[in-house]
């Protein structure tokens, strides 16, 4: 399955959840959609700069809530590790010795709560941190490569939904270094942090109905600059 196909399918599943709920698509819909798709027992989503200061947005069940709480109480666990390393933490067997050593308190508490495997995905775009998506299983076992690919795309979509207010995230498209470079350039042009720069870049593409990659290319090529005040027209071609 290609990335584009996968992204479309994942978006469809999230939109179905929102429709069933009768509301606009939001990051919270990701939790309900991801659980059956990657065959986990439950999920939770927290927003915020880091997992400790984060704000729990959504849980699918009581075990997921306990897992989220446990990490805050104990100060250790896969979500904290994931938000520190910027990569996922895939603990497919909590009873396994390696994980027991890594999180002595969390491992046994999580097992008691009913989790046998925990997978944590930081919601990041480079230096931007939007939150963490946690998944758990009541039986041990790794995500298959296919499930992992899906979980990563669910996490990408949750990231964009947390950062943007649009109904449909414009999508990152296939990866382009120019988008990241343009985001970095905008921090200077607009005098804002990296998260705001990313949101402004995407908003400019969305409002003007231009592909994100094309806007990015114009900014990196120094044919387009954005202006700091959001009340002014969003940008000028030079």
């Amino acid at each position: 399955m290609t990335y584009v196909e996968r992204r479309g399918r994942v978006w469809g599943l999230i939109a179905e959840q929102a429709a069933a709920r009768g509301g606009r698509v939001s990051a919270a819909d990701v939790c309900a959609a991801v659980v059956p798709e990657v065959e986990v027992t439950g999920a939770w989503l927290s927003a915020g700069l880091d997992a400790l200061a984060g704000h729990l947005l959504q849980v699918t069940d009581e075990v997921a809530r306990q897992l989220a709480d446990l990490q805050l109480t104990l100060g250790e666990g896969p979500l904290l590790d994931a938000s520190g390393s910027s990569g996922p933490v895939l603990a497919s067997e909590l009873a396994d010795g390696e994980w027991g050593t890594r999180w002595p308190a969390f491992g046994s508490a999580a097992s008691q709560a009913g989790a046998a495997a925990v997978f944590a995905f930081p919601l990041v775009v480079g230096a931007i941190r939007a939150g963490v998506l946690g998944l758990y299983r009541n039986r041990p076992g790794p995500l298959s490569d296919f499930q992992l690919g899906d979980a990563l795309v669910f996490a990408d979509t949750a990231t964009l939904l947390l950062l943007d207010a649009h109904d449909r995230p414009a999508g990152l498209g296939s990866y382009r270094a120019e988008i990241d470079q343009a985001t970095g350039m905008l921090t200077e042009q607009l005098g804002v942090g990296i998260t705001d720069a990313f949101v402004r870049l995407r908003a400019y593409a969305y409002v003007n109905d231009i592909q994100l990659a094309d806007v990015a290319r114009d900014i990196v090529g120094r044919r387009l600059r954005l202006v700091p005040d959001p009340d002014l027209p969003l940008g000028d071609k030079t």
């Binding site: 399955m1 290609t2 990335y3 196909e5 996968r6 390393s85 910027s86 990569g87 996922p88 933490v89 895939l90 497919s92 390696e98 930081p122 990041v124 775009v125 480079g126 230096a127 790794p142 490569d145 992992l148 690919g149 990563l152 795309v153 990408d156 296939s174 990866y175 382009r176 270094a177 990241d180 470079q181 343009a182 985001t183 970095g184 350039m185 905008l186 921090t187 200077e188 042009q189 942090g193 990296i194 990196v220 120094r222 600059r225 202006v227 700091p228 005040d229 002014l232 000028d236 030079t238």
Partner: protein, 250 residues
């Protein structure tokens, strides 16, 4: 091939793989050393993202990076064939090869006439490819192919280096961390380029130099610079270029 350079390169690469080394910096150095050692014009390295796409993580030059990206966008080319088959793919004269007409065109415009793609394998899985581009037509020396494959293998090992290989999940964790580091570095390049009025390639060189001078990992410095907790100034002696016309607030 220069035997001394060969052993010096492998010693350098394995010496770099100490605890807490920077994977993106490492792979960048690996593509540069591939060019020097194998007498090719450029090298690029692709990794498979479990999301279902290949990503360019390192390239010895901007031309190589653009050509790699072109293959991904047009969904054709020797590097994709190599990745999909898990076998080396060679083309000794792109202008006379019917397999990838668009790629051959694009490569020709970039000044490349021949390409050798080498798979990065881990057990029975293909996780990426190292691609060597050359400006002249003709067969690749068997020794070049042999050593090139050894460099591709070093790249594979480097991804797994600082964790045990016991867990099957490790590679995927490392890979996602590496891919995100690449994004942080690109963000930092953009910020630095805009701040100093330089281009993004100059910004990358400056970032790498600064990381070395400060004895810091490239991605850590990049992140700190983007977050605003560390400052990078223009190197002394290089006059600061004036910024392109800034839009003024009324």
């Amino acid at each position: 091939m220069d035997g001394q350079l060969l052993s010096a390169t492998f010693v350098e690469l394995t010496d770099t793989m100490v605890a807490d080394f920077d994977i993106i910096d490492f792979l960048h150095v690996l593509t540069q050393r591939s060019v020097e050692l194998l007498d090719v014009s450029a090298a690029g390295l692709l990794l498979a993202d479990p999301r279902g796409e290949l990503r360019v993580v390192a390239a010895s030059s901007e031309a190589a990076r653009v050509l790699e990206l072109f293959q991904l966008q047009s969904d054709q080319g020797p590097c994709l064939d190599c990745f999909r088959s898990g076998q080396p793919v060679v083309c000794i004269d792109l202008s006379a090869d019917p397999r990838w007409p668009q790629f051959a065109d694009q490569a020709g415009q970039a000044g490349f006439s021949a390409v050798q793609a080498l798979p990065m394998r881990l057990r029975d899985q293909v996780i990426g490819a190292l691609n060597l581009f050359r400006g002249t037509v003709g067969a690749f020396d068997p020794e070049v192919v042999h050593v090139g494959q050894a460099l591709a293998d070093v790249a594979t090992i480097s991804l797994l280096h600082d964790r045990s290989m016991r867990r099957t999940d490790t590679l995927n964790e490392q890979l996602q961390t590496a891919l995100n580091s690449r994004v942080v570095i690109e963000q930092a390049k953009g910020k630095l380029a805009e701040r100093l009025g330089i281009d993004v390639n100059q910004a990358f060189t400056l970032l790498r130099d600064q990381a070395r001078n400060r004895n810091q990992r490239l991605s850590d410095l990049a992140r700190a610079f983007v977050d605003g907790t560390q400052v990078i100034a223009a190197p002394s002696g290089s006059p600061r270029t004036s910024r392109p016309g800034r839009i003024r607030q009324p």
